[in-house]
């Protein structure tokens, strides 16, 4: 499913974190978002996942859903999920429970009468194995290392089985082994025709993974295009050097 935004705007006390932005993210593609620190990348992700309400603009999902506001508890139903730049895991819960909690029943009454079903556990095993955390399933999440936390965040979004995925700097601070796991996840999502949005500072990874690159600067769209082309543009290089 595609997601399109029109004239999306968000101000924080006069600072235009996202300014009149119009963009489209397509299924079966990885769209990279780059831009200097504070250019509004995370804010954009927050707006599109209901974490922060937007001031103005529209969000269009697929061909027939048009939204002028988006609440956090609605985004999952629209098929949108995300990771957080600073991991927001359920710290005082086990690794396994962090996955099970997004796999099991959403309906309150059903949730009351189940613990988890066999297929939930199987699914959790599959996901945690994929990111190399199955051995850690009974560990308290607060005790995980930085990299393991990032991987658990990725596994948690996969558990959502969404159509649209936002990854906010999933590679930051990871060792190469872990980078391989996460890029594998992204490529796999792309192959299965999901819409993948990747916020990232590492240009090598952007070049390697993304089909389209969006460059933000001060909340505005600086440019958009194919990675090799965009990354060599003068204004992009300048925006980064200007940091």
């Amino acid at each position: 499913m595609s997601i399109e935004i029109k004239n999306l705007t968000k101000c924080f006390d006069g600072v235009k974190a996202v300014n009149n932005l119009s963009l489209e993210f397509l299924p079966g593609q990885i769209t990279g978002i780059i831009g200097p620190n504070g250019s509004g990348k995370s804010t954009l992700v927050n707006l599109l996942t209901g974490v922060i309400p937007f001031d103005r603009g529209l969000v269009l999902l697929g061909s027939d859903t048009k939204l002028s506001k988006l609440a956090a508890y609605d985004v999952a139903e629209y098929g949108i999920t995300r990771t957080f730049q600073d991991a927001r895991l359920f710290e005082q819960m086990t690794v396994l429970d962090n996955i099970l909690v997004v796999l099991t029943e959403r309906n309150l009454f059903s949730a009351f009468f189940e613990r988890h079903k066999k297929f939930h556990l199987d699914e959790a095993e599959k996901l945690l194995t994929q990111v190399g955390l199955w051995e850690k399933r009974q560990a308290l999440t607060a005790n995980l290392s930085y990299g393991q936390r990032k991987l658990l965040e990725v596994a948690r979004t996969l558990a959502m089985k969404s159509e649209i995925y936002f990854f906010d700097e999933p590679f930051a601070g990871l060792f190469s082994e872990m980078i391989k796991i996460v890029s594998g996840v992204l490529v796999e999502l792309k192959k299965t025709d999901k819409t993948v949005v990747l916020v990232e500072h590492n240009m090598d990874l952007i070049r390697e993974l993304s089909d389209t690159v969006v460059v933000l600067d001060a909340g505005e769209l600086l440019t958009v295009g194919r990675p090799e082309e965009v990354l060599s543009r003068k204004e992009v290089v300048e925006a980064y050097l200007g940091e």
Binding site: T49, A72, Y73, A76, R88, F90, V101, L108, M160
Partner: protein, 288 residues
């Protein structure tokens, strides 16, 4: 001997209060300071139905549970607009409101005079007038509530409660309407407290508003903080500990009136020491 039975009954009643508040505070992370209001509602509904209308204990308890659940639902609805410290303050306010209703709605509650002459229950011809028999009833109900709390804590529902405690907005992003979960657990906790209230009313056979003031809510909070949040065994352990504490003080030689007064001071000190050296309580898995 009869005194030990008395203490055991109190431990049973406060275990129910601790276990039920733990669902709200320990598992869901909602710092509620209004539990004594629900405890009191349970006690008053049972007392009034028994004395003024001649009802039997079980139907009266059932009505008390349902009524308290409804009131808790409404209070929870208002509280759902608050978070963090404001939540605690708001819940604090509701305890005071309910307490003043007990105190001032004299035509129904008899105000500060209290309601005397509440009969001990009789079930299938078996009288619970005898304290040992009554202890059996308290243990049975406390056990049922303990098991219910354990069940809730380990269900998918309970897992969502913990996630709400950890990061409410994050779990919303993953598709949960957390307001419903918070309301449900708040009402369930209140309904359990109503059971404790009903038992208390027929045990003491006399109730007045002073048993359900803010201090009582704080006492129950102390029980679960001491025992350890998000651990049902901890809630029971905390109840045992805090009920027996004044007895221990007396035992080591304090005169009983001093022991009674010292109680509050020791509770306070204990909590402070605990917060500094062991914020997760005796067996808790979560710290405030």
């Amino acid at each position: 001997m009869d005194y030990f039975i008395h203490l055991a009954i109190l431990i049973g009643i406060y275990s129910i209060l601790g276990v039920s508040l733990n669902l709200v505070v320990g598992y869901t992370g909602l710092l509620s300071v209004t539990h004594a209001a629900f405890y009191g509602l349970g006690a008053y509904v049972v007392a009034i139905l028994l004395t003024a209308y001649g009802w039997a204990f079980w139907p009266a308890l059932l009505v008390a549970i349902i009524f308290t659940g409804l009131v808790a639902f409404l209070i929870g609805l208002v509280l759902s607009r608050f978070a963090g410290d404001y939540y605690a303050l708001g819940s604090f306010g509701f305890n005071i409101i309910v307490f003043s209703i007990f105190l001032n709605w004299q035509s129904v509650t008899r105000g500060p005079l209290g309601i005397p002459g509440i009969a001990r229950p009789e079930i299938f011809g078996v009288s619970f007038g005898d304290n040992l028999m009554f202890l059996g009833l308290v243990v049975l109900l406390a056990l049922l509530i303990y098991l219910a709390a354990e069940y809730i804590a380990h269900s998918s529902f309970g897992r969502v409660l913990k996630a709400i405690r950890e990061d409410e907005q994050a779990i919303q992003v993953f598709g949960y309407r957390t307001a419903y979960y918070k309301l449900t657990v708040f009402a369930l906790g209140a309904m359990m407290a109503a059971v404790a209230g009903g038992l208390f009313a027929v045990y003491i056979t006399f109730i007045d508003p002073s048993s359900f003031n803010l201090m009582e809510s704080i006492f129950v909070l102390a029980i679960i903080i001491l025992g350890g949040l998000a651990n049902n065994k901890g809630a029971v352990l905390g109840a045992v500990f805090l009920i027996l504490l004044p007895e221990v003080l007396r035992f080591v030689g304090f005169p009983s009136d001093v022991a009674a007064q010292l109680r509050q001071v020791v509770y306070g000190l204990l909590l402070i020491v605990l917060m500094v050296y062991r914020p997760q309580g005796l067996v808790g898995e979560y710290k405030l």
